[in-house]
């Protein structure tokens, strides 16, 4: 799902409202509640992958596996095609072996299958995650660095059609977080 534009027209424009929780379970609860309240544009931030959290947020995306599959198919085609083409392009009698030696060609075919499956898969993951992205409004948020340590954050983005900073803050407080804060859009790059 897309995040809002990082750089608003004005410095006052908000990026979202963020709540900090102590445990994954609390965060899960919060996400659940937020969804119940009808918030759709939200995301959670955790130091490690939390089972089922993404599903709570409503994540269902099979493009990475599909990309991997495509990569595999591509590599297979490329590998076998290359070997057949080059041997037909310049046929040589090599030790009386067949010109198109299916069994012998299988090995390189497999290697390229693997190579491209992995490259496509990981490539897709990075692209879909919009990574690398070194600068991000959230990094400006207070204590967000603990997101990679032991804190668990919920963010409701400003582009949610039901977005209202005050309401949301109250709502989030009701979930028993450590703290709640608004996250401003970063004032331009840097």
């Amino acid at each position: 799902m897309r995040e809002p534009r990082a750089y608003g027209e004005t410095l006052q424009e908000l990026y979202g409202v963020m709540a900090e929780f102590k445990s994954p379970d609390a965060l899960k609860q919060a996400v659940h509640q937020a969804r119940m309240r009808g918030y759709r544009r939200l995301d959670a931030f955790t130091p490690f992958p939390v089972e089922g959290l993404a599903e709570e947020i409503g994540f269902s995306d099979w493009r990475v596996p599909l990309a991997t599959l495509a990569g595999g198919a591509f590599g297979t085609g490329l590998g076998y095609g290359m070997q057949v083409y080059t041997n037909l392009n310049y046929p040589l009698n090599v030790g009386g072996r067949p010109i198109v030696a299916l069994s012998a060609f299988m090995l390189i075919t497999f290697e390229l299958l693997v190579l491209f499956a992995v490259v496509f898969g990981i490539g897709a993951m990075l692209i879909l995650n919009r990574l690398p992205r070194l600068h991000h409004p959230l990094f400006g948020a207070d204590r967000f660095d603990t997101a990679s340590l032991d804190r668990f954050f919920l963010v409701i983005f400003s582009d949610d059609e039901k977005f209202d900073a005050r309401h949301i803050q109250n709502f989030l407080w009701s979930l028993g977080p450590e703290r709640v804060q608004t996250v401003p859009s970063a004032g331009g790059p840097g």
Partner: protein
């Protein structure tokens, strides 16, 4: 040509003085000149030898020197055209670069001519082939002849005249010789001695005749360390005449050799091998027999081919010959007691010989007592072999001025101070003289010492004067081949490395400094032929030999009583030493030729060293093994060398080899082997008893190309009873032959004609190595040196494997040449990641040097290990001479690439191109690989295997056909013919 006696400046001065003068006035100019004071000064400066003392030398001499100087000053160093030589096939003019030209000439070996065709590229000889028209070799050569061309280019060859070791001007030598000639004229040659090697040159004969006539008191000596003087002794003893024995092995169905290596290395090897091969091939076809009986103390190539080889002490030979004689009813003095083994052998031989009267031959080694050899001749006479398998003729080799003129006699006279001037021509007594003669010391007593030779060798070092000789391939000369036919030698090379020919040197000694070698040779033949001369001269050069020029055959009368054989010389408890020439460097003259140094000895496969052969039993007894250093003592002299435990060696016989341990500086021969001359005496040159052998405890690092000799019960070399072999191929045999190609999961490529293949007949291979050197010469194969060979990195594309089967004291020995097999299902090609080795449409396993990156996978996968790898840059810093020697049609390989036998693809392609130009198919036999062409026994056949009519196809159709390592199923294109086992009555294991 810097060897001009006059500095250029001076030469100019003279020329200016003679400018515009010619004919009569020219000579007057010289007259004036000789009086001119400037010239007197100039002369004094140039010729100290003349200037010394009062300037009252004869006007004639001055003019001579001056003339010589002018002639020499006028010569130019290099000239493209081979001035007068006549090419073998095409006219000398219009040299087409890239198109080799062939000249018929010869190289010399022990005085005998080895007739050759020299291949030259733009005036550079690159390869020598046997002269196919010459009856003595029919196009074959031996290893020495193949390597001769490297001798021509040897960078260590002497290039300049030397006086007292420092470079000098030819004019100085001329002056010396001229004045000496003048002196000798006065004294009828008193005190002048000439020492040469053996020679068969008619021109030399003429010159020496002239010399002895002009100077009756001068004497001419011959010293040939490896000469077979004994044979002449034998004929003299048998019928008072010094005659040359000529074996006709092509007619000898039974050959009985008493310690006589007729097929072994030597000047007559090619001639004999050719003859024997002819006989053997006839026998293969079932036409008559071809059996060899050998009794010998140390293994020889003839012994390897023997149907029945008896191992006997050298001292027993006389007894055996006598026994055979009495068996055949030839009076032979007191009977000797024979061992059971010996008796059976003699009886078998006697039966065979009698059964083949006139088709047998008995030969006794030249190193044995002439009386014994004479007895052998008598046996031949009795059997009616004389005139059939054995003929006699006037010796081809010239005879010294008289009987007594031997080296010991010369040395005695030198010591007695009777020799005032000694000229040594192409002979190296300082190294080769028997140990009991102190040649060096004797030299001290000679006041004028002059040496002419290819190298500044040990003898040159003892002389004041050294003149570089021209190589056989640079010079005009003449010589007789093994069959007596004379050949006129012509220069192959467009330029000269400096030096003069023997003939010119001789003329110089006679005081004539103007002459030039072609003129001298021509003069000889003009005298023989008369007019019309030029045509005969021309045709002689074209043909490469002179038909009907052989010395007349002599049919001697045999007095059937003979001198009683002497008793055996060796006492039981002591060892007998037999001296042999080295199979690759001969008597030492080839010691600086790398191709021959690195060439594995046929029987030991040792390179770069000579060894001391000991029997397994003796080794056992003395606790020595191959490579341990031993000290051999006999009659107060000793040599120290590496032992080699030799299977098939007679228990109490020790074999030493001549030709190594030379002290002359030569970058190739440096520090190789031990010097066996140091134990050889003038009385007992070839064998002597009373020797003692003791290990010194040290080890020698020997570089052998084959570390493992046992067949291991594997069937690399196969044997077949003669009756099977001779039968036409049956259906079953067909199947067996096809066994070479078992079924495969791979597709079958069908090769249409032409498609190349090779067949090697192990029944004909005598392991002589000619093919190996031919391959080296043809394919620019680099030599790597002893250390690398020891590491197992020799580069030979073709190797001759040698295997033993049976008990070490008396094994069966077999040879097997192994080139690339050009497998149709080549594992090597499958292994190469970069397509650097692939199969050509005409069935060649190709190696693409510039595509190779050196993964060496091909070599790992090659079951025959015939591939060779450039571990270093082996060719980069070759001296320019060696680069000039290279075959321009073959790539010189770079560092880090793989190489191997190509079936001489360059020859295949050029033949195909030629055929295309002439719009025809390539004829069978038109393409000869280098190895095939050199082989004296035609053991190798090459051609189109797709065409069933070719020689090679017919050979492959033989029931004897098999392929190496059938079980690996590589479908080799090179296949072998099994060796035929002769069934010899009463002889169990010793077959084949």
């Amino acid at each position: 040509m810097r060897s001009s006696g006059l500095h250029t400046g001076d030469a100019d001065w003279i020329r200016r003085h003679l400018d515009g003068k010619s004919g009569h006035s020219f000579w007057r100019g010289l007259e004036e000149l000789s009086e001119a004071p400037e010239f007197k000064r100039l002369l004094a400066a140039e010729f100290p030898s003349l200037a010394q003392g009062p300037m009252d030398f004869a006007r004639r001499d001055v003019l001579k020197c001056l003339g010589a100087s002018l002639v020499l000053a006028g010569l130019t160093g290099c000239s493209e055209d081979l001035n007068y030589s006549v090419p073998y096939v095409e006219a000398p003019e219009n040299i087409i670069p890239g198109r080799p030209k062939y000249y018929a000439t010869a190289v010399l070996m022990g005085g005998y001519a080895q007739p050759i065709l020299g291949e030259t590229h733009v005036g550079r000889p690159t390869k020598l082939e046997g002269n196919p028209d010459h009856p003595a070799c029919l196009g074959a050569t031996d290893a020495f002849t193949q390597a001769a061309v490297l001798g021509l280019y040897d960078p260590d060859r002497s290039r300049s005249l030397r006086y007292m070791g420092r470079p000098a001007a030819w004019a100085e030598l001329d002056a010396m010789l001229v004045s000496q000639a003048a002196r000798l004229d006065a004294t009828a040659g008193q005190g002048f001695c000439l020492l040469t090697g053996a020679t068969s040159s008619p021109t030399m004969g003429r010159q020496l005749k002239a010399l002895t006539e002009r100077w009756p008191r001068a004497r001419w000596y011959i010293h040939e360390p490896a000469g077979e003087e004994g044979r002449f002794e034998a004929t003299r003893l048998a019928f008072g005449q010094r005659l040359e024995q000529r074996f006709h092995l092509d007619r000898a169905e039974v050959l009985v050799c008493f310690d006589d290596d007729v097929l072994g290395p030597g000047p007559k090897q090619t001639y004999h091998a050719r003859g024997w091969a002819t006989r053997r091939q006839a026998a293969q076809r079932g036409e008559g027999g071809c059996k060899i009986w050998v009794a010998e103390p140390t293994p020889s190539l003839t012994g390897v081919m023997a149907s029945w080889r008896a191992i006997v002490a050298p001292g027993r030979i006389s007894a055996l010959v006598a026994a055979l004689a009495s068996q055949l009813g030839v009076p032979s003095g007191p009977a000797h007691s024979l061992a059971e083994e010996e008796r059976r052998w003699i009886e078998g031989a006697a039966v065979a010989l009698e059964a083949h009267g006139g088709r047998g031959l008995v030969s006794v080694g030249h190193q044995h007592d002439p009386a014994v050899q004479a007895l052998g001749l008598l046996i031949n006479a009795k059997l009616g072999n004389v005139g059939a398998t054995l003929t006699f003729a006037e010796p081809s080799l010239l005879q010294a001025s008289d009987e007594g003129a031997t080296l010991p006699d010369l040395v005695r006279r030198m010591e007695a101070g009777e020799v005032s001037s000694l000229a040594v021509l192409d002979c190296n007594p300082a190294y080769t003289a028997p140990a009991d003669l102190d040649f060096a010391a004797a030299m001290e007593r000679v006041e004028t010492r002059f040496h002419a030779g290819l190298y500044f060798d040990e003898t040159a070092a003892l002389c004041q004067w050294h003149a570089p000789l021209k190589h056989d391939l640079e010079t005009w000369s003449d010589a007789r081949a093994a069959d007596g036919l004379a050949t006129i030698l012509q220069p192959l090379i467009g330029f000269s490395f400096g030096g003069r020919s023997q003939h010119v040197i001789l003329e110089n000694c006679l005081g004539d400094v103007f002459t030039e070698d072609r003129a001298v040779v021509a003069e000889t033949w003009r005298a023989i032929w008369g007019e019309p001369f030029e045509e005969r001269w021309h045709s002689a050069l074209v043909a490469g030999f002179i038909p009907g020029s052989a010395p007349p055959e002599v049919v001697p009368q045999f007095p059937l009583e003979s001198a009683p054989p002497v008793a055996s010389v060796s006492r039981a408890e002591e060892l007998t030493v037999v001296v042999r020439t080295d199979p690759t460097v001969w008597d030492g003259r080839f010691a600086n030729i790398a191709w021959l140094q690195e060439l594995p000895k046929p029987l030991t496969k040792v390179t770069w060293d000579n060894v001391i052969l000991v029997s397994p039993a003796l080794a056992e007894k003395l606790k020595i093994e191959t490579g341990s250093e031993v000290r051999l003592e006999a009659s107060g002299r000793s040599v120290t060398g590496p032992a080699w435990v030799m299977p098939g060696q007679e228990q109490r016989t020790v074999t030493v080899f001549l030709g190594y341990g030379r002290t002359m500086p030569g970058r190739v021969m440096e520090g190789t082997g031990y010097d066996a001359y140091r134990i050889r005496t003038s009385r007992e040159t070839w064998q002597f008893g009373g020797a003692r052998l003791a290990p010194t405890g040290k080890k020698w690092q020997l570089a052998s190309t084959q570390l493992h000799f046992a067949l291991e019960g594997r069937d690399m070399v196969r044997f077949m009873p003669s009756e099977e072999a001779s039968t036409k191929r049956s259906g079953a045999a067909q199947a067996k032959g096809k066994g070479a190609q078992r079924e495969t999961i791979y597709p079958v490529y069908d090769y249409e004609s032409p498609s190349w293949g090779m067949s090697i007949d192990t029944d004909l291979c005598i392991g002589c190595n000619a093919c190996v050197v031919a391959c080296v010469a043809e394919n620019n194969i680099p030599m790597v040196g002893k250390e690398q060979v020891a590491k197992g990195r020799e580069m030979f594309w073709l190797r001759v494997d040698r295997y033993y089967e049976g008990p070490p004291e008396d094994p069966r020995t077999v040879f097997q040449p192994v080139p690339c097999m050009h497998c149709e299902k080549a594992p090597c090609e499958m292994g190469c990641p970069v397509n650097a080795t692939t199969h050509s449409p005409d069935g060649l396993n190709q190696q693409v040097y510039n595509r190779c990156i050196g993964t060496r996978t091909c070599l790992s996968f090659c079951p025959y290990k015939v591939r060779r790898f450039n571990w270093f840059d082996l060719t980069g810093n070759d001296p320019p001479e060696i680069q000039a020697l290279r075959n321009p049609d073959v790539t010189v390989r770079a560092r880090g690439v793989m190489e191997k036998c190509t079936y001489c693809v360059q020859r295949i392609r050029s033949a195909e191109i030629q055929a295309k130009i002439e719009g025809r198919a390539v004829r069978d036999g038109e393409i000869q690989t280098a190895c095939q062409q050199a082989c004296p026994t035609s053991a190798i056949a090459f051609g189109d295997v797709a065409d069933s009519e070719t020689i090679v196809s017919r050979r492959k159709a033989s029931p004897r056909d098999y392929s190496l390592l059938e079980e690996v199923n590589t479908w080799p294109r090179t296949t072998y013919l099994a060796r035929i086992e002769d069934e010899t009555p009463g002889n169990g294991s010793k077959r084949g």
